[in-house]
């Protein structure tokens, strides 16, 4: 039976119709073989648009549908669903992208219209050869892997666990808590960061539905939505989990001091350590790289003092395999390496600090017990806070780091509260968009903090005049005054840029995610699905997706959790129907396909001498189809003839 094709051309308001002559496309389509119906509509994706589609399928007995509108990556699911509603197999639908690939990228209306006709012709050519396919359902493993134990991961894990679903949380450092645990106060409410975070950390540790693995890394991810298999390496801790009472004696007795990562290197920790006093879990780990015993074979002082005998020198890394249905990546953010920011004096002048260093300096559990002092112990009489250091700067990070304006204000407030120093903020724009943020800015103005509109150009210790002697001098133009200022201060705090984690590239690869040009993980849709990724079943939470403050991070974590949960609670997921199939009559058993399949989805039957595709493992990439020398594998929905038909119709060749 000849196919009966319907073509629907969308105006997308003026998005398409403003450039492409939609009626001309409709007329052209009407003239092609097998096209029995051809029309246009303002917004095909709208409710009336879908009704139009539905009616036409029934009234004109359409057996194929082509919608010429936006990218299939946007609305293919919408129209497939609409086709299904009208009783048409959704795989008999084909989309022609005349918006992203045509009207939005061309200005010449005639050229764009001709191109749109070509695009629709190719889609019709493919549609003519489409075959119905049945989507298959597979059960979901009701368990979620949360990677990263910062506040985003904590929120996601608790939400999921509270709903009754099992969670595995993997954190690479000794304790969960992330950057938020390093902070003293949070803007703009100034509530104590530890006070609001620690209870949540404890809940994670105690929750019956959460299995917490700290000091661990995800090594490998296999499988697909609903059915991932992950390998997790639990690094050797050398402290037995069940015997250790977290009494902390070993921490006192260990003679080996190393810079504390948690304190940004401003204080020391021991070779046996927990990240910070409120660490969760509280059991310490031995850092093998620093431990004297592991280096020289002597010491074992911790073992001597350990009453419950919890030290295990022969502890080994353990690799466990877990099956999960969904993965939430909450690996957080890093900070730009301030050593690359030479003109602002970091690394050259001891009293130039990064924002996170100042957080520790100001923290009651930090190196000075919360006193704000210069390196020589004196209280600063003046402090400069430099905004946008490395942010909004083509030489470093082009984006706005989003949290600096507000934490700079918080710093200014804390300095005012604890010292008598004059505080200068050097800024380009004040970005105080959140709830209560502008009010906080206003409060700081009332507190007498000085704001200079102009980005600090450099920091020097070279004095011109007595008032500069022995000081750090910040040079900047006040762009409001129209004058270059030199401001001598005792301490400089760099609101240095937030950056993707150093290993973001490897993590992206591990979980099959993309990265946007800024290096952060790429969301599926910037507006509508900022918590999903291109890989089904892998979700994003927190600042690994883009710089975020705490409220946004928590909201993002909760969003990722609910998305993962809604998938888990369906119990089944639809897996790719467009898979490959070996045609037995033509397979000669050369095994070439087995080598090229990235998923090892092709098995070989020695008895029949035939290859076979395991459809539930096949992801439909089609590599085997293109490779098979005997043309004995077909790729459903992208078979040779369908693709050739598209190529043949790509242009009006004559």
């Amino acid at each position: 039976m000849e196919p009966r094709i319907g073509v629907f051309v969308c105006h997308c308001g003026t998005n398409i119709a403003g450039v492409v002559d939609v009626n001309r496309v409709v007329e052209a389509a009407a003239a092609w073989p097998d096209v029995v119906f051809s029309t246009e509509y303002k917004f095909m994706c709208s409710d009336p648009g879908q009704h139009l589609l539905n009616d036409a399928i029934i009234r004109h007995k359409l057996t194929r549908v082509v919608v010429a509108a936006c990218s299939p990556r946007m609305h293919e699911p919408t129209f497939r669903k609409a086709c299904a509603m009208a009783g048409l197999n959704p795989y008999l639908f084909e989309m022609a992208n005349i918006r992203e690939h045509c009207s939005w990228v061309h200005e010449d209306k005639l050229a764009a219209t001709l191109k749109a006709i070509d695009i629709v012709r190719a889609a019709v050519a493919k549609a003519r050869l489409l075959e119905p396919l049945q989507a298959r359902m597979v059960p979901v493993t009701p368990k979620v892997l949360v990677v990263g134990g910062g506040v985003a991961g904590i929120q996601a894990a608790l939400d999921i666990a509270n709903a009754g679903t099992k969670v595995i949380m993997v954190e690479r450092s000794q304790s969960i808590g992330g950057h938020m645990a390093q902070l003293d106060k949070t803007f703009p409410t100034l509530d104590c960061s530890a006070c609001i975070l620690t209870p949540k950390m404890v809940q994670v540790a105690q929750h019956p539905n959460i299995e917490l693995m700290t000091y661990s890394d995800v090594e490998n991810v296999d499988g697909y939505v609903g059915n991932f298999t992950v390998k997790i390496r639990q690094r050797a801790r050398y402290v037995d989990e069940s015997t250790c009472t977290s009494c902390g004696v070993c921490l006192e007795k260990c003679p080996k001091k190393v810079p504390s990562e948690f304190d940004e290197g401003m204080a020391t920790r021991k070779a046996i350590y927990r990240s910070f006093p409120q660490a969760v879990p509280g059991r310490p780990v031995i850092d093998k790289e620093s431990c004297t015993y592991f280096k020289n074979g002597k010491c074992k002082i911790c073992e001597i003092f350990c009453e419950p005998k919890a030290i295990r020198w022969d502890d080994q890394d353990r690799v466990v395999e877990e099956k999960v249905g969904a993965i939430i990546v909450a690996t957080g953010m890093g900070l730009i390496d301030p050593h690359g920011l030479g003109q602002w004096g970091y690394g050259r002048f001891p009293n130039v600090l990064t924002g996170l260093e100042f957080e520790r300096l100001n923290n009651a559990t930090g190196p000075t017990g919360g006193r704000i002092t210069c390196k020589d112990g004196s209280e600063p009489k003046s402090v400069a806070i430099l905004h946008c250091v490395g942010s909004r700067d083509r030489n470093h990070k082009e984006y706005c780091s989003r949290v600096c304006c507000m934490y700079s204000l918080k710093f200014a407030h804390l300095i005012k509260e604890k010292t008598h120093a004059t505080v200068y903020n050097f800024y380009i724009d004040m970005r105080c968009f959140g709830k209560g943020y502008e009010e906080f800015y206003n409060r700081l103005l009332h507190e007498g903090v000085k704001f200079i509109r102009g980005k600090a150009a450099y920091v020097t210790d070279q004095a011109y005049g007595d008032e500069e002697t022995g000081k750090l001098v910040v040079s900047a133009e006040s762009t409001t005054l129209g004058q270059v200022l030199r401001v001598p201060v005792d301490m400089v705090i760099l609101a240095s840029a937030v950056a993707p984690q150093n290993d973001a590239e490897a993590v992206a690869r591990l979980f099959g995610m993309g990265r946007s040009p800024d290096g952060f993980f790429m969301e599926k849709h910037p507006k509508l699905e900022p918590f999903a990724t291109a890989t089904d079943g892998v979700y994003l939470a927190g600042s690994c997706q883009s710089p975020k403050d705490i409220p946004d991070t928590v909201a993002h974590g909760a969003a990722a959790a609910s998305t993962a949960l809604s998938m888990i609670s369906r119990g089944m997921v639809e897996v790719e129907a467009a898979t490959a199939e070996v045609l037995k009559d033509f397979c000669s058993g050369c095994k070439v396909c087995q080598d090229v399949c990235p998923y090892s989805a092709i098995s070989f039957h020695d008895d029949t001498h035939l290859a076979e595709v395991n459809a539930s493992v096949c992801k439909g990439c089609g590599t085997c189809v293109a490779t098979c020398p005997s043309s004995a594998i077909t790729g459903h929905h992208f078979n040779d003839l369908q693709v050739l038909a598209q190529i043949d119709a790509a242009f009006a060749w004559e």
């Binding site: 050369c590 080598d595 090229v596």
Partner: protein, 327 residues
């Protein structure tokens, strides 16, 4: 035909050779004593390699008088084209016999060039040519005795089905005796497959090849057969030889691989093939052991003549059919 045979009338058989080496005619003789079976059932009405016939004889036949014509060789000049058309008229069933008639075959590689450049080479600068006047063949020459005509040499080489309709294909360079007998029996008994069929296997040569294959075959480097000591057990492709077996119709019994020679592809493209050369290229290069572009290039460069290798017998029936003319 079955009917005719029952009526005691012998099968009327014609055999013709066009642009070919004569190997296909030899292949008919290679059936040895079975040739007598053929003679028993058939009157051989035309067979230029064996017996003397004149074109006039052919022209004098009634249309459709001959039952079957086994036509070997590609078509590359006006005489061959004329005979192909003439025989088509006279014969009920036309069989493209051998790789040249079926796909263009080895002569088809001349499609890498054109008449002008071929003449320049053959009558110009090859080592054995002495032709100071630069004489090239002319279709018409006047001599005192009258006008001389020789056939016009075409720019292109054609497979038989590109010039006349063909009912069946018997591939091979040459077709093996078994293939020949399968074809002859089918014809003699009238037990014929659907028109358009190729009388050979539907599976690739690999299916008949007894060599052992790895589960995930990989090619470390491409070699030419003379460059390596061939392992007699292992798959030739895995040893880096450009064996066309996986992309070539079987039916030959995997004769070449059995004697350590990689399949050259003479039985032609697989039934569902889009393009024989592309099939072989895709398969062989996809499994080279190369994980970066440099390595891929190094290994790709080891393929000395991809076009000649992958289209050795099939260039005229491939997608692009010929190389762009130099002029």
């Amino acid at each position: 035909m079955g009917e005719e045979k029952k009526n005691g009338k012998k099968l009327q058989l014609a055999m013709y050779w066009a642009a070919s080496c004569g190997g296909c005619d030899m292949a008919v003789l290679d059936v040895n004593e079975k040739i007598l079976d053929i003679a028993a059932v058939a009157d051989i009405r035309l067979w230029p390699i064996a017996m003397d016939y004149k074109y006039k004889d052919v022209e004098s036949w009634a249309d459709g008088e001959i039952d079957v014509c086994l036509f070997n060789g590609a078509v590359r000049n006006s005489e061959q084209l004329h005979l192909a058309r003439l025989l088509r008229r006279k014969c009920k069933v036309m069989v493209a016999f051998g790789s040249c008639a079926s796909f263009g075959g080895i002569p088809g590689l001349a499609n890498l060039h054109c008449k002008k450049t071929i003449f320049e080479a053959v009558y110009g600068y090859t080592a054995s040519t002495v032709n100071p006047e630069g004489t090239t063949p002319q279709t018409h020459t006047k001599v005192p005795e009258g006008d001389l005509h020789i056939p016009d040499f075409f720019d292109d080489v054609y497979s038989l089905n590109q010039v006349i309709p063909v009912e069946y294909y018997v591939p091979g360079c040459p077709p093996t005796p078994d293939t020949v007998m399968v074809a002859v029996n089918a014809i003699a008994t009238g037990n014929l497959p659907p028109v358009g069929s190729t009388i050979a296997g539907d599976k690739a040569v690999c299916d008949e090849c007894l060599r052992t294959k790895s589960d995930k075959p990989k090619i470390q480097a491409f070699h030419r057969p003379q460059e390596i000591f061939v392992d007699a057990e292992k798959c030739l492709l895995e040893q880096g030889l450009t064996c066309m077996g996986s992309a070539t119709r079987g039916g030959c019994g995997s004769l070449c691989p059995a004697v350590n020679m990689p399949c050259r592809g003479c039985y032609g493209p697989m039934p569902r093939s889009l393009d024989a050369g592309a099939d072989a290229l895709a398969a062989m290069t996809s499994i080279v052991d190369a994980s970066d572009e440099q390595a891929a290039r190094t290994k790709g460069d080891q393929l000395v003549d991809p076009l000649g290798t992958f289209y050795r017998f099939t260039l005229p029936v491939s997608m692009l059919r010929r190389a762009q003319r130099e002029h």
